[in-house]
Subunit: 346 residues, 2 copies
DNA sequence: TTGAAAGCGCTAACAT
DNA sequence: ATGTTAGCGCTTTCAA
């Protein structure tokens, strides 16, 4: 007895009562545990259906099972989410894989402080809100891996870890290809001096791209100018652009860490009376749809962000379920040539 | 006794044991329930600290308390998240208020089908994963209100509900101001024929803007052309633009439902050999940072999306806590004049 | 094949 | 001021 207290949502015992079986029978049926006669099974399923019941996530989680949610913590200031769609695109990819397997995504966007981020992970773990987390923006000397291991929270990193082995990571094959192609493209157009407005130096990929850039530049007789900026804002891109354009020996081409920054760069160049691509070639990063809409249409290093997100989600879910990950191929980065690059001084 | 089973995370009884008090004492301390002597309080807090303990969200939720998470379900196809930052900006605003009060945001992005969305809300409620939800994109004959009421899930709508009273809603004051100002601006420039590429017709705001537009146009002797599109994609904007530009009596100005669409429209106009703003004036919607970076810089109807997100979050949290909402003012929409509008035929 | 019962970690009556 | 205890809704032995 004892079911159906009017107010609340139905519980497993309401279902059991309606089906005329015990709660454990219901549990077995809904969890496919077997050992239940077919007619009983039917009755239970009918009751479940009639009552529109589904197990309380809290109770299931408390019982030690999974929460069926994965977490993501982003440290960028909320406003930046807006101007840098990078993160958002990753999320689309992640959700695309999470939704079909009924996992939720718990998002935490914390303010600038490093500490807030660590606290967020700590809470996620200690309060057992999520089964695992997806990490983005791999940092040099990233302390999150140790933290997460200490917390016993499974994680998957999108990107290249700063050193071997910390957590499973997903990344595109042939990482170097995009930047290399960009340099080759510029060299072939006749450029001899190219700048790279890099992201913040604490990012692993900043260092990686820098090395790839320098090496490719050397191979192709291009002299590289490196301009790391403190953050991914349009403002930072604009001032790095100004700076490089006021160099005595100014570059005839500039690469940017992402497309929005590239667009900001084009804008900054214009304010100095320079026309793109006539006076300056510009290459972005990420290949967001936007790039094809602006004038001039943006030449950019395409990245399979959606693929990375999907792969990370799949990898983590597999990890949690103890199954092997069936991760779809991630496209390697590659140059998408449009209109913002041309021969210098044309 | 009975505490500290080596493996797992510490529980409230570990804390109680370490502090030499009962579990209820610990509970009272951490929940500020009073009735605890100061020295005891200290000891408990010390134990909490030493053990790095925090209450299990699952247990708290099961106990009937709050989950401290709010949900959001978006029905747009994942890819669109990318090109339409609208949703993302809202999320920044929401997170900005959620983070300080330690609420999480559980995001569900479901594919196109209407049914998937309803199922998502249903699960959120039945599994008691969230305490409430924030609804965006108010629809005509929106069925979500009834669903949510049936589920007993508190909700706050961002926008104008299609009829009175379904759920608390937050919206900017002087809704009509933005579009009205845009029309006045165009009329003052000498335009006599303006088009409006509206969002899908099932959106409440589409109808609202349409009426405001028509009315303002009438007042100012502008003949309006209305072009609803099936979705917010760049492609839809481009083809609506083409269509309107091939009209015998083609408009000299076009408003768009959002900035990305406006940029796509500018692009479409260019492909027809038209220059903006010389041959066509363009006005966007939302005033995303991007608008100031493109060429020509976009004239647009600014919306306080971050403010809307913040207000919605605050409102919902207040609703859940039973406290009165101390909602910050939301800025009314207003025209931001930049370079994509000019006198026709100039 | 089915059911009874013991918790999971916590809060809130209700003692003391 | 502090402790005891009964569940919250579920899963899972263990018995029947």
């Amino acid at each position: 007895m004892g079911a159906g207290r009017s107010g609340g949502r139905p519980t497993i015992s309401d279902v059991a009562a309606l089906a005329g079986v015990s709660v454990s029978a219901v549990s077995k049926v809904v969890n496919n545990k077997g050992g239940i006669a077919e007619p009983t099974r039917r009755r239970v399923l009918e009751a479940v259906d009639k009552l529109q019941w589904s197990p309380s996530a809290a109770a299931v989680a408390l019982r030690g099972a999974r929460t069926r949610a994965i977490g993501m913590v982003s440290r960028r200031p909320p406003d930046l989410l807006t101007s840098d769609p990078h993160f958002t695109v990753l999320i689309s990819g992640i959700e695309r894989e999470l939704a079909p397997v009924d996992y939720g995504l718990l998002l935490h966007i914390v303010g600038g402080q490093d500490d807030a981020e660590r606290r967020a992970y700590r809470r996620l773990a200690e309060e057992r809100r999520v089964d695992g987390v997806i990490l983005t923006e791999s940092l040099v000397r990233d302390t999150r891996f140790d933290l997460l291991r200490g917390l016993g929270l499974p994680a998957v990193l999108i990107g290249t870890p700063w050193r071997e082995d910390p957590v499973p990571a997903v990344r595109a094959p042939h990482q170097e290809r995009g930047v290399t192609e960009a340099v080759e493209h510029l060299a072939a157009l006749g450029h001899r001096r190219a700048a790279y407005v890099l992201g913040p130096e604490d990012r692993v990929h900043t260092g990686f791209r820098r090395r790839v850039f320098e090496e490719a530049a050397r191979r192709h007789g291009l002299s590289p100018v490196l301009l790391p900026v403190p953050d991914f804002t349009a403002e930072a891109a604009a001032s790095a652009t100004e700076e490089s354009l006021s160099l005595a020996d100014r570059p005839t081409a500039i690469l940017y860490a992402n497309d929005m920054m590239a667009i900001a760069g084009i804008n900054a160049a214009r304010r100095r009376g320079l026309e793109v691509p006539r006076d300056l070639s510009v290459v972005g990063h990420d290949d967001l749809p936007l790039g094809a809409l602006v004038q001039p249409r943006l030449t950019t290093v395409g990245q399979d962000l959606v693929g990375l997100g999907r792969a990370a989600a799949l990898r983590l879910v597999a990890e949690l379920g103890g199954t092997a990950a069936e991760v779809p191929a991630i496209a390697p980065p590659g140059l998408v040539v449009r209109e913002s690059t041309a021969a210098p001084g044309t």
